[in-house]
Amino acid sequence: MIRVKDTSYQYAGGTRMVFPDFHIPKGKHGVLLGESGSGKTTLLHLIGGLLRGHEGRIEVNGVDLASLTEHGLDQYRGRHFGFIFQKNHLIASLTVEQNLLAAPFFAELPQQEEQVDALLAELGLEGKRHARVQELSHGQAQRVAIARALINKSALILADEPTSALDDRNCDKVIRLLMEATTSHGATLVVATHDQRLKSVLPVAVQLEAHT
């Protein structure tokens, strides 16, 4: 699913970050671990096509991301990746349903109401279809964000620090929910986190070295 080889990245004016070679097979959820500043977010964004300009080779589903044009990358991102962030980043002016349908709209995929129904039911959000984002609890908002990441049937769900702000009980709940949901949709989950609690939970762990 994801293959990273001889990859490094350098921010303008920063030192070069070298990433370890690794492979995350389809269906095996993985975690990118490392201290703050080790480049987890950078690597996750490189894999997700949110950031360009790396050296080396990052392959997703057999496609070398560097070979895509900007427009091609936009499309690829929309159709193959779902993103989850520490904050939910739902679009506050839209309803829950509109937030979900925004994903297929921007990915230029058909907008299917049944999928909205199914996802809301699956994540226990049946009554919230027309709710405004501000009316949701934090947990509900996070589940909407998960639903949004899943709705396009993306092969890969990339999550950046989804649990860092949570206590142990909630951390466990959220990561289980994420894993269950991605598994049931046939997607592969990759989490970037400094949260060592996740190390034992996800099958593949990639440790990033600190860069100074």
Binding site: H45, D74, R79, F83, I91, A92, F105, F106, Q111
Partner: protein, 408 residues
């Protein structure tokens, strides 16, 4: 989900600023619409009413007043002119046609005009009912007169001296309605037409048949050269372009009368009114510019609040172009909303004005007409909307997904 829903949701998410911007723009475009509606209709009415009248000859005084009184029937007469002298003008070789006007009386606020039938022909007026006047004291009334006073064929009335509703009555003579003129959108709609002799009769002056004496070229049925009779003015048509220069000069220098050209006086009137209109237009443009600036600021500021939204949209596959379009759409939406409200407001004000102010109704001004210039207002505001949203849209275009989303 589509870009329109998205743009609309953002407008709805800040109702106060949206309403403020819409109101601001609506006021600006509303005033412009008002000016367009009034200006155009006024000009149309004025041209329609002055049509076919090259020169007005009347007693000395203000030329503007003479025109306003004899052509538009809004001001008071400058005085009267001697029939014999008027006949001399009518005989002048440069005059193709001269129509006498005897003014000064009215019935319940509507003016009675003693004239000839070719006065009605100037406006190609047709009768809706009855016939044109034949005998003295027979009148044909305008459509508005008939409607507002409820006058029917065969009704009789006495005229009042003066043009206000409370002048003293000429009780001895009764006018009789014999014809009702079809509405034509000109001054005729508000006039009561009769022959010149009727006005003289109402003032207890004798009118006799011409007998064997030569008949007057101005007042059919009256003897020529009667210097004891007067009319208010003459509407003159030129025989040829030479008359434009020679005739007014001849009249103004060689007679006790004055000549005034409606074309010149109305142009003067427009330039006087134009100053006021320019001030208003300038004010409206300032309003529109301020609202444009305000729309720009609102969008510009909301781009900062919206950077996560924008980055998330891009993470979902939206290209830069789509975000650009979404913001431009939002700005255009806002201006379209404001402009359409403004146009509606302008029309509504004119409509209410026409419905409540009798003078406006009498002048035939309407709220339900559409002018090409309004399309320009609409088009211009949409362009303004696009321009005001360009910079914010560019910000959206340049959203760096990584920096925004890594910064959490």
């Amino acid at each position: 989900m589509n870009l329109i829903i998205l743009a609309w949701s953002y407008l709805k998410s800040r109702p106060l600023t949206t309403v403020l911007n819409v109101v601001l723009l609506a006021l600006g475009t509303g005033v412009i619409t008002l000016l367009i509606l009034f200006g155009n209709q006024l000009e149309e009415k004025i041209t329609a009413n002055a049509k076919g009248v090259d020169l007005v000859v009347g007693a000395k005084g203000s030329p503007m007043q003479l025109i306003l009184c004899s052509v538009f029937h809004i001001d008071f007469p400058t005085g009267n002119i001697n029939l014999k002298e008027a006949e001399r003008i009518a005989r002048h070789p440069l005059v193709k046609k001269a129509i006498p006007m005897a003014l000064g009386d009215s019935y319940r606020g509507f003016r009675i005009v003693g004239t000839r039938r070719d006065y009605a022909e100037l406006y190609a007026a047709e009768l809706a009912e009855g016939k044109w006047w034949e005998q003295h004291l027979e009148v044909a009334i305008g459509a508005t007169v008939a409607r507002q006073l409820g006058l029917k064929l065969g009704d009789e009335f006495v005229s009042a001296h003066g043009l206000a509703e409370d002048g003293h009555d000429h009780e001895a003579h009764h006018y009789k309605v014999v014809g009702i003129v079809k509405p034509g959108g000109t001054v005729l709609d508000n006039l009561i037409l009769t022959n010149v002799q009727s006005i003289w009769l109402a003032h207890d002056l004798e009118v006799g048949p011409a007998g064997n004496a030569a008949p007057s070229n101005l007042v059919p049925g009256h003897l020529a050269g009667d210097s004891s009779r007067e009319v208010t003015s003459l509407l003159v048509q030129y025989r040829n372009p030479l008359a434009v220069i020679q005739l007014p000069r001849f009249i103004n220098q060689q007679s006790s009368m004055q000549a005034a050209a409606p074309a010149y006086e109305t142009a003067r009137l427009f330039s006087i009114l134009g100053v006021g209109a320019d001030v208003l237009r300038g004010f409206a443009l300032v309003l529109i510019l301020v609202s444009g600036l305000s729309i720009f600021l609102v969008l510009y500021n909301s781009m900062k609040e919206r950077r996560y939204d924008l980055a998330i949209m891009r993470s979902m596959g939206a290209g830069r172009g789509k975000l650009f379009t979404a913001v431009v759409l939002e700005g255009t939406f806002l201006t379209a909303l404001g402009t359409v409200s403004g146009l509606a407001l302008g029309h509504a004000v004119v409509w209410i004005f026409a419905a409540t102010v009798p003078q406006a109704a009498a002048s035939g001004i309407q709220g339900g007409v559409w002018y090409v210039a309004e399309t320009w207002v609409l088009g211009g505001s949409l362009v303004l909307g696009v321009i005001c949203s360009l910079v914010p849209a560019l910000q959206a275009y340049k959203t760096d997904i990584h920096t925004v989303l890594a910064g959490n």
